[in-house]
């Protein structure tokens, strides 16, 4: 059985437990599942955040995540992975993104989940706009996110 790869771009929220169960249901070969969920914070430094609005590039978002999912599948012995990224208006405390990786052993699942998140941050075509104190500003990209993604290309 080939390992299932699920990629969804959606405005609706997701159920983390349900997504994990969907990857492992009926299987006894999986020994490790790692899940990362990114959640909207209610503040950035001292600034209170009322909400985030996520814009995305339909078509390319799926294609770009698929390219990195395929790379993760070829770099680590995974038994499945799921990536869900939301778009639209998201309030503090709500989910933004989910990565779930399944493998026989934990190292592959941990590494692949971190690899996928680092690339989601820097190369998946999504843009956050923060609403705070009556303003709405585009979030600026961070150099440490680029550095985090770049370390996966080192040999």
């Amino acid at each position: 059985m080939s390992a299932p790869v699920t990629i969804r771009i959606q405005d609706a929220d997701f159920d983390i437990a349900k997504e994990i169960a969907a990857l492992t249901m009926g299987r006894t070969d999986i020994g490790a599942v790692v899940s990362f969920s990114g959640i909207c914070r209610g503040s950035e430094g001292t600034e209170k955040i009322a909400a985030l609005t996520l814009e995305h590039y339909p078509g390319m978002a799926e294609a770009e995540i698929k390219r990195h999912a395929d790379e993760a599948m070829s770099r680590w012995p995974l038994d499945g992975l799921t990536v869900i990224h939301r778009f639209g208006r998201i309030q503090p405390g709500e989910n933004i993104v989910l990565v779930v990786t399944a493998s026989q052993h934990r190292q592959a699942a941990f590494h692949a989940a971190e690899f996928l998140m680092d690339y989601l941050k820097t190369s998946a075509p999504f843009w956050k706009r923060e609403e705070s104190a009556g303003r709405a500003d585009w979030v600026e990209a961070r150099e440490h996110d680029d550095a985090a993604a770049a370390r996966w290309t080192k040999s």
Binding site: L54, Y57, M117, P125, W127
Partner: protein, 83 residues
Amino acid sequence: MKLKYFAWVRERIGKAEETIEPPPNVRTVADLMAWLTARDDAYAHAFETPKVIRAAIDHTHVKADAVIAGAREIAFFPPMTGG
């Protein structure tokens, strides 16, 4: 070819997409940005710092020296901030 714009690039240009036919001397993504910049102030504002602008041809990230011949859809956008 179709052009698409996202986030503050879209806001500065004032539209999400358009169809254009650049002249043959516009060979690369950088040439296309320069050609658009010369059209009016909105493009000039969007592309005022070309090195921060990211581009994709047919849903794949490309560098500014990428050749645009044969492209169906070219997108311009700021550095990504998802995840």
